[in-house]
């Protein structure tokens, strides 16, 4: 079916999230929607799926206007959506999730027909090569498999057009290849796909046509043969230095030593199994790996937020039994993975958040009394130094944009005299400008002699920042490598395989002059 969005406009107060957007998807086409975080892609898809109503514009299917007022209407119109944040109930099985809303029943009273449901799921699974176990609990599945469940869910409802919103954010390069294979297979079957992403290289690898969107507007349509530089420039609106420039590292002595760290998760299963590593001052260790392999637990254990066995020592001090407060005082700076949940108190002002971990020390407090003026002054200075865009230091930090929130955390943590910095997913969900800023700050810390550990599932970030790379898989570090390792090989390590020779055949399967590099790693035109 031919899908067209015409002049779609959506405003949220004074913010125009979608500004007269036109988009056409022909039958059997893979159309990419390319734009950076915050450009308006997800809003547009929510309009298409009936989750929100546009202020202006219309949607046409096979040249007939349709009114999509709810997801039910969208499904009826043949649109299936795989959301960026999965719409799956973790405690239900695959089969239950897939048939929710269109359940098979038998007898009277609506008793669930589990047998028929199971066979429905298996049928679709075979047809498109989406291997799943219908009785598995979704919450226990790896993210790549969860995504398949979402796709089967859409297919079960006879979707003709599938919308995939940032599907590769959580996949290894190998799994991304699998996904592309599935997408091509769906296309052969006559379905069209809208592929939303901010990753240039992927979009170039899989799309038939690319629509670039920036700040709510369509700024261009290009074929996939367009250069990465041109696409990036359209996406961001200026020439961007996509990889921070940095001097070679000048590492000093070892500052952080982690030995045989073992951490259990909520259920008592080992999430981190005997991890050991060392980081020197003036060096950045990048821990790569797909989300869910123990990185979160590792970071929490290093901060004392989770019980662990093994040793952690910083500049010779054994912190293994220290409380979180003592570890922070001992010189650890911490940028947590979930900034809104763990890094900031949304209801508190910017100023209060700036002193979240030092509020009871001079000069911010004398004895039990707070020095409110001192807090305000210090916060004002930090806000200007770290370029936090806010009208005042008393504004609640929850009203700031993601990028500015992260800057508050960075300002707070990096303005201390740290011996070590631990930053987990430091640029998740940020726009390019903020990404640049945060990366610069992290490199600056390194250059001051701090031992830096970053944890990231964005490979381009790992490559951009790391002086050394460690790969985590199923709770263990499966290898330390130099940053000149190819992405294919790194991808294999992340997937648990150590057969690096495999990469050769994978490379051959792709279009020429396109190594399986993930976008963002553009050999950008340097600062001009």
């Amino acid at each position: 079916m031919k899908l067209e969005l015409r002049e779609i406009t959506k405003r949220f107060g004074s913010l125009v999230a979608n500004d007269h957007i036109d988009l056409v998807v022909q039958p059997g086409e893979i159309r990419a929607l390319l734009g950076e975080n915050g450009a308006g892609k997800t809003t547009l898809m929510n309009v298409l799926y009936g989750l929100i109503q546009p202020d202006e514009g219309e949607i046409l299917i096979d040249n007939e206007p349709v009114h999509i007022r709810s997801p039910k209407d969208a499904i009826r119109a043949g649109i299936g959506m795989v959301h960026q944040h999965f719409m799956l109930v973790p405690v239900f099985t695959v089969a239950e999730n897939v048939t929710l809303g269109v359940e098979r029943t038998r007898g009277f009273g609506g008793l669930l027909d589990r047998k028929r449901t199971r066979s429905d799921v298996l049928e679709l699974s075979e047809q498109f090569g989406l291997q799943v176990n219908p009785d598995a609990l979704v919450g226990e599945l790896p993210v790549g498999i969860q995504q398949r469940v979402e796709i089967i869910k859409a297919l079960l409802r006879d979707a003709n057009t599938l919308v995939l919103d940032e599907p590769t954010a959580v996949l290894t390069p190998g799994e991304t290849e699998d996904l592309f294979r599935i997408m091509r297979s769906l296309r052969e079957g006559g379905r069209s796909i809208v592929f939303i992403s901010h990753k240039l290289k992927e979009v170039q690898a899989i799309a038939d046509n690319i629509t670039i969107i920036r700040r709510g507007q369509v700024v261009g349509e290009r074929p996939p043969s367009t250069t990465g530089a041109e696409l990036a420039a359209l996406m961001v609106g200026r020439a961007v230095q996509l990889r921070v420039s940095k001097e070679p590292a000048k590492p000093a002595g070892v500052r952080l030593t982690v030995h045989n760290l073992t951490v259990a998760d909520e259920r008592g299963e080992p999430a981190v199994r005997g991890v050991s590593f060392e980081v020197r001052g003036g060096e950045i260790l990048g821990i790569a790996g797909v989300q869910g392999n123990g990185q979160t637990e590792l970071c929490e254990a290093l901060l004392g937020l989770r019980p662990s066995s093994g040793t952690v020592s910083l500049d010779g001090n054994d912190l293994s039994a220290a409380t979180t407060r003592d570890r922070l005082r001992a010189g650890i700076g911490y940028v947590p993975e979930d900034r809104q949940e763990d890094g900031l108190v949304g209801a508190f002002s910017v100023a209060d958040n700036m002193v979240l971990d030092v509020y009871d020390r001079p000069p911010y407090a004398s004895g039990i009394a707070l020095n409110l003026d001192q807090i305000k002054t210090a916060a004002t200075e930090l806000v200007s130094e770290y370029d936090v865009r806010t009208s005042s230091v008393q504004t609640p930090v929850g009203t700031l944009s993601g990028g500015n929130q992260q800057k508050v955390i960075v300002a707070r943590e990096l303005s201390r005299d740290n011996k070590m910095l631990l930053a987990s997913q430091p640029t998740r969900g940020l726009d390019v400008g903020s990404i640049e800023f945060v990366h610069k700050q992290i490199v600056a810390q390194r250059d001051r002699g701090v031992a830096v550990v970053i944890v990231s599932s964005e490979l381009d970030e790992i490559y951009a920042l790391s002086d050394r790379i460690a790969v985590m898989y199923e709770g263990r570090i499966v290898g330390f490598r130099e940053p000149d390792i190819s992405e294919a090989d790194l991808g294999l390590l992340m997937a648990g395989s150590s057969a690096e020779a495999e990469s050769r055949s994978v490379q051959d399967a792709l279009p020429p002059d396109q190594a399986l590099e993930l976008p963002g790693a553009v050999e950008g035109d340097d600062a001009e």
């Binding site: 989750l51 997801p71 109930v89 973790p90 239950e96 359940e103 959580v170």
Partner: protein, 420 residues
């Protein structure tokens, strides 16, 4: 974030295993030291047959000895719990075993050298005391499984019992009273639904406020109407209905099959809701709404309607539970007749992990402790009534603190659903 695993951020400050072991050991020690050592000389007697059924001789056992034995067994279970990693089922059997031993030891201690305890009567009484707890817990289950916290069970019970009493007394007789009580509970449920779902008020606070309102209203109306005019509070109540055949089974028969209509309603409700929640399309959708309302919304399930419906249904059920407190038992209403039962029902729900069968087990336990508080002081005057009255509440605290473990409420419980 695309990960689905909910991260529990708080490190548990007391390992659950040691907590359970400690609680078991504590109970075992009580068995031995208090029940065993401090028991009067003599035997404890248990009457196990009711009039008209097959006669079973009174069972007499040496009280102190039994207590020692049960205490030793409990401590053995504690040791097992602490040493080995038991499976979920084994852990539950352990809790059940320890509790049963404790109860038997308690009974032996209380009855040593005194007139035999009428187990049949106690069983009937315990079951009766449990009815408002079970129905209240089911009300909470319906509501919370769809994502709305229901602290207002207390208010629903109270209002239901008042309305049933006044309507039955003055306006229409028992059955009309029962229906009116149910509707009264449903009304409180409606208020809860409107303020929680549409006005987005915090659900815990809302529940407490509704309870305060219900207490104030019933106090006021009692003073204004019932105290002035006894016709409004005549004390009528349902008689029991004997189920032929089943009621003749020894021991079990008189307890489970010879009671008011309320008990039978409770049986039906427990089974119906258990099956509906976990084996039907209706239940799947309800649970989806309670776990991940956005996901349910995206597949076209009407989230807000389901929440409204469930909360009101729960209220209707709790209203029946409240009606039991008046027209199902003593007949007349007095202020604060529900005295915290709604909260105990809530504890039973949590203890039962938000399932009807689990809540049933927990509610029976609490009901039994309520019954004990009533009966034991009459059998053994040594026990001060005031302290015995505390028993069910203390039991709840111990249960919630020591034995509940890591409970997982429906993921979206308490979070109003607002479309982005």
């Amino acid at each position: 974030m695309t990960t689905l695993t909910a991260a529990v951020r708080a490190p548990l400050t007391a390992d659950r295993k040691w907590l359970a072991t400690g609680t078991f050991a504590f109970l075992g020690v009580i068995d031995v030291l208090i029940f065993g050592l401090l028991a009067h000389k003599g035997d404890a007697g248990f009457v196990l047959s009711a009039s008209g059924t097959i006669h079973i001789p009174v069972i007499k056992v040496p009280a102190a000895a039994i207590c020692y034995v049960l205490g030793a067994l409990t401590i053995a279970i504690a040791a097992l719990r602490g040493t080995f990693d038991l499976s979920q089922t084994q852990k539950r059997w352990a809790i059940a075993g320890v509790l049963v031993f404790f109860l038997v030891a308690l009974l032996c201690w209380a009855d040593a050298g005194a007139i035999p305890l009428n187990i049949i009567g106690m069983g009937q009484g315990a079951l009766a005391s449990s009815i408002p707890l079970i129905l209240g817990a089911l009300a909470g289950c319906l509501s919370e499984r769809s994502g709305v916290i229901n602290i207002a069970i207390e208010g629903q019970l109270l209002f239901g019992s008042f309305t049933a009493a006044i309507v039955a007394s003055a306006f229409g007789g028992l059955w009309v009273g029962l229906v009116a009580g149910s509707l009264a509970g449903g009304l409180v449920g409606l208020l809860l639904a409107v303020f929680a779902i549409t006005f987005l008020m915090d659900q815990i606070i809302l529940g407490v406020v509704l309870n305060v309102l219900a207490l104030g209203m019933t106090d006021y109306l009692y003073d204004r109407l019932m105290a002035q005019n006894p016709n409004y509070n005549t004390g009528v109540s349902f008689g029991s209905i004997r189920i032929p055949g089943l009621a003749d089974i020894p021991v079990i028969g008189p307890i489970f099959f010879d009671s008011t209509i309320f008990l039978y309603i409770t049986y039906v409700a427990v089974i119906a809701i258990q099956v509906a929640l976990f084996s039907t399309r209706w239940g799947l959708r309800v649970r989806a709404v309670g776990e991940h309302p956005t996901a349910a919304d995206t597949v076209g399930i009407p989230v807000l309607w389901i929440r409204y419906r469930n909360v009101i249904l729960g209220g209707l059920l709790a209203g029946i539970g409240g009606a039991f407190l008046t027209v199902g038992s003593v007949g007349s209403f007095n202020p604060d007749i529900s005295s915290g039962f709604g909260y105990i029902a809530l504890a039973a729900l949590i203890f039962g992990r938000w399932t009807p069968l689990g809540s049933l087990a927990a509610a029976l336990l609490f009901g039994f402790s309520l019954e004990l508080a009533l009966v034991l002081p009459t059998v053994n005057p040594v026990l001060p009534p005031a302290i015995m009255n505390m028993a069910p509440y203390v039991a709840t605290i111990i249960a919630v603190a020591g034995l509940v473990g890591k409970v997982r409420a429906p993921a979206a419980d308490g979070q109003p659903y607002v479309k982005a």
